[in-house]
Symmetry: D2
Subunit: 346 residues, 4 copies
Amino acid sequence: MMGTNRKTNIAVIGAGRIGKLHSKHLASLIAGAELTAIADIDLEAAQETAARFNIPTAVSDYLELLDDPDIEAIVICSPTNTHAQIIQEAAAAGKHIFCEKPIDHDLSKVDQALEAVEKEGVKLMVGFNRRFDPNFRKVRELITQGKIGVPHILHIISRDPAPPPMEYLKASGGIFLDMTVHDFDMARYLMASEVNEIYVVGAARVDPKIGEIGDLDTVIITLRFANGAIGTIDNNRKAVYGYDQRVEVFGSKGMVAANNPASDTHVYSNQEGIHSALPLYFFLERYSTSYIIEMREFIESVQNNTQPPVSGTDGRIPIVMGLAAKKSYQENRPVQLSEVDGSKTK
Amino acid sequence: MMGTNRKTNIAVIGAGRIGKLHSKHLASLIAGAELTAIADIDLEAAQETAARFNIPTAVSDYLELLDDPDIEAIVICSPTNTHAQIIQEAAAAGKHIFCEKPIDHDLSKVDQALEAVEKEGVKLMVGFNRRFDPNFRKVRELITQGKIGVPHILHIISRDPAPPPMEYLKASGGIFLDMTVHDFDMARYLMASEVNEIYVVGAARVDPKIGEIGDLDTVIITLRFANGAIGTIDNNRKAVYGYDQRVEVFGSKGMVAANNPASDTHVYSNQEGIHSALPLYFFLERYSTSYIIEMREFIESVQNNTQPPVSGTDGRIPIVMGLAAKKSYQENRPVQLSEVDGSKTK
Amino acid sequence: MMGTNRKTNIAVIGAGRIGKLHSKHLASLIAGAELTAIADIDLEAAQETAARFNIPTAVSDYLELLDDPDIEAIVICSPTNTHAQIIQEAAAAGKHIFCEKPIDHDLSKVDQALEAVEKEGVKLMVGFNRRFDPNFRKVRELITQGKIGVPHILHIISRDPAPPPMEYLKASGGIFLDMTVHDFDMARYLMASEVNEIYVVGAARVDPKIGEIGDLDTVIITLRFANGAIGTIDNNRKAVYGYDQRVEVFGSKGMVAANNPASDTHVYSNQEGIHSALPLYFFLERYSTSYIIEMREFIESVQNNTQPPVSGTDGRIPIVMGLAAKKSYQENRPVQLSEVDGSKTK
Amino acid sequence: MMGTNRKTNIAVIGAGRIGKLHSKHLASLIAGAELTAIADIDLEAAQETAARFNIPTAVSDYLELLDDPDIEAIVICSPTNTHAQIIQEAAAAGKHIFCEKPIDHDLSKVDQALEAVEKEGVKLMVGFNRRFDPNFRKVRELITQGKIGVPHILHIISRDPAPPPMEYLKASGGIFLDMTVHDFDMARYLMASEVNEIYVVGAARVDPKIGEIGDLDTVIITLRFANGAIGTIDNNRKAVYGYDQRVEVFGSKGMVAANNPASDTHVYSNQEGIHSALPLYFFLERYSTSYIIEMREFIESVQNNTQPPVSGTDGRIPIVMGLAAKKSYQENRPVQLSEVDGSKTK
């Protein structure tokens, strides 16, 4: 297994939707990875996924995988409330870690996890897959090249085609930690600057039941960046025309935007108008490529011993932002990130 | 002049850029209007415009026109600080009034003008020309038809190609009363709901001199509507790619947007990419049609004795919004419109 | 009337649809023109147009206008079969001439007219208005600047929203002389090269009655240019989605195209798809600007004593092309232009 | 291997570019296929591909695979001049056959191959992958649903980003059999009607060397369909802006087109214009999905014992069309398909 074409032995923890997706990619599309095991508390689910993607080992207890000295890296796809603990255990076992977002809804648990990672010197990458979307990458690339000059204004539109089940929502941590957390990361990624202050307006307009559990489904978040730029994030849980994921950055020398990729390129003209295809339906379709690229880059960072492209801090800050957004909504006023994070925010 | 094809005798006050534009339209493109006179304190300017558009009378003192019993309606294109007074004088003289925006920066003066109009029973229309832009009209039409269901979110992008001279800016009343006032009107027009609360973030990023005079050039305004919808306005004084005037309204059943009309429809493909034309350069190009339609509809409201499509109240509320925006920026907090307008807001 | 701001006295012959259009433009939008008279065999029609656009003189016999020494130029908007004769008479009277297309369906009459123009030394401009469309101008501009390198392939799509009445069609000279003649001119304009050979496939598919009178409504014309490039013209009499007028030129270094300008820029997204506005309905809407520019440039050529931008030869060659297309269709074979024009084609 | 989840044992013949592509798909993305062997006259190439995609067997002589009773189907990716013979041998061995296009340049060899297939009762599918492109499928779907009414006019634009090496071109059979053959198939697929007559104009304009070997690089082919519709195909070997693959079908009730999918959805606006991404570079990128779908549908037709979606006749007719195109170019006249195919064309 050593040598120029060395493959990294990797295991997946969690055989749910996203665990299956990463398994599929690691099994066939990531040249540098050898997917050797999968764990799920539901052993049957682990076995089924193992059979489908020719994974040699399936277990119910992930600790067995952490004990396996042949496994170099793990992919954490278990429920959010287990992430922080598994990160600590995996770090203690000397495994490199890819963890689905968010690390945890509780900042102190996040910090414990990050400390363990730092102490053990393993790599941690957080699954903010949208950074690897070729459309958003191109936007960032043009900004980095100076093509728009000094960035002044950012707009992110991020709307789901339909709300998740109420059971999911109840455990989600609220729209800011579940949904906006991706956009908070995107804001930092595109602007290459931290956010200092957040102001939120919002309501439950899609479904009153969402309001009844204290959550929102329609929000606009205003951002002030450390570099003086300003921006907005627009979230909605139900865009009937499909997954709406756009960004636009305006600067002193121009503007760059990324539009929704469409299901196909057809254009139909009749006496009613000109008609074209809807956006790709939801995140599995829209971000199919980005999931592959993120895993490839994680494997590369392990193999080349380089910094993963999304760090633990990159995983932490959007949670701080989510907490600030929550506070801003509750108090209807702009909130500084330092109010929810004290001296920790960098 | 009476009869089925009766023309309305009209006079223009002010022979500056916008006065010339209205004169040109009234002289040749508005079938129901007979442009009989123009006034400008600079008599030469009045005479020059009169010669160009075959206007019979040119005077320096607009009071002469108000005294002329043959003149039925006037178009006020003089400096902003004269609007309120001329409205009162014209109303007293029984003339119907078209007044360029804004009525005044001082709410009490606006109110005096509106009271005079109401008392004398003349018509007053305020020149929010963008309401007559065919693109934005189409957006409103689809909303009114219920095509997007319940409107949830509004976004207005409104950026100028280049800032005006500092002299202009100093007298402009600030970005909210000079520039955003149009977008405040657009927000009310599209959403058919009043705004209750405004929050502003902004800076002077285009030109530090704009900051030195206490003004802003880069702002995002968050709006809460009475009907529960939310929205943003994005203003900037310098979009290097030209006049950027877009709107987008998202609702429970769909979304409708209006993009920038381009200078032409060419598409050029070379090895660098696919290239197309910039937006129409500035407001005279972009809104060329809307200026004609607004004047035609003013004349029609006079001839048919109907309510003008933009009322005095429509002229007043955006000024209230501008004052609330100013206060929000100064105090960095959301501001209720009632805070700046007391019991007057409807 | 002399001096730096000299206006050119001009008269319109024919008060039909296009005569009214030119009258309107000459009366108000062409600074250098003074529209002093209009003639129509139907005096009432002439008088009505005169009243509408403040034209001092209305007569039934256009010869009166040719006799008037104050009139410098005429605009021929009478039926096609009168064009050649009026051109000769106007040339003999020393008037500069703007003539609607086509000059005549009979090449010998065209040649007599052009000879008269040459002999008398007056200016003749033929009304190929599409050359003045800003979209097509931009295409030509990029080609002329070398942006696409050597042009290889041209495609012209030119479809009407609905066929004209059968009465019109019977007198139209057939689709090639009535409709394609514009596209033949566009082909020469864009490619800056003459066509040597034409091949036609076509049928009457829109309306069998069009076939019964020996005409076609659906044709594709293949062109070989003298410079080695090749191209097609696609004509149809009924595009239910509106006036479809596009061009595309492909070359060694790139491609440039012009798409249809839409009625407005709205985009509506619902669960069925993304919907936008139809093209501007027909030629009066689509080419509204081009009609103004062509007349302005005619007046300028008269005032500056320069060559009009569309010459008599430019008016003649598309007729030769139409005759070749007709022959190609009848004989189902490629036809050289020299077959229908002998030694005359340049 | 039997049962509900039965997999079809399949082997690939030829380990060149397209053989590798099919191997990759069969190895990981086609659930119903078990890729058990690969053959290439260059054993090392076969072994290398086998290693890369975990294919158990690699041989140099494909006859070994035809002798293997466990192999049910083969994929022919060898050079064109071997296709017809391998088809006959595979049919004799009772294997189902997927064959890359074209079957052969010689119609009599094609016919021998098709006869063998018919006699042995095996399935044959020809690799016209573009039929499986989601964009073109959508176009066909709308036509089949009657959304454009009666189809009148077809346009196909099909341009490569760069010409292949001269060595390839010399063995290619010429542009009509190598490149246009795909577009001939697309024409039949979209219009659901056979072509009766073909007329060609063309030249070698991209590279004079292409002309020197008697080939063309710039052609326009005019088509007459049996149902009375007409159309064009535009081919060019060098579009500097990338792979240009568009179709447009115009009918009595509307038009449907498919545009080029772009590399990404970014839009960059600066003072020069509005810029967006180029089309996906070449066929491997543009048709990545269509290659997967075609193989999946082939496997399904084998497993379900249904007619493959592209038949042997579908593979044959485009060759007839290519021969007619060649003749048309040589004789500069429209050529009936029956002229090159006698009584055989269906």
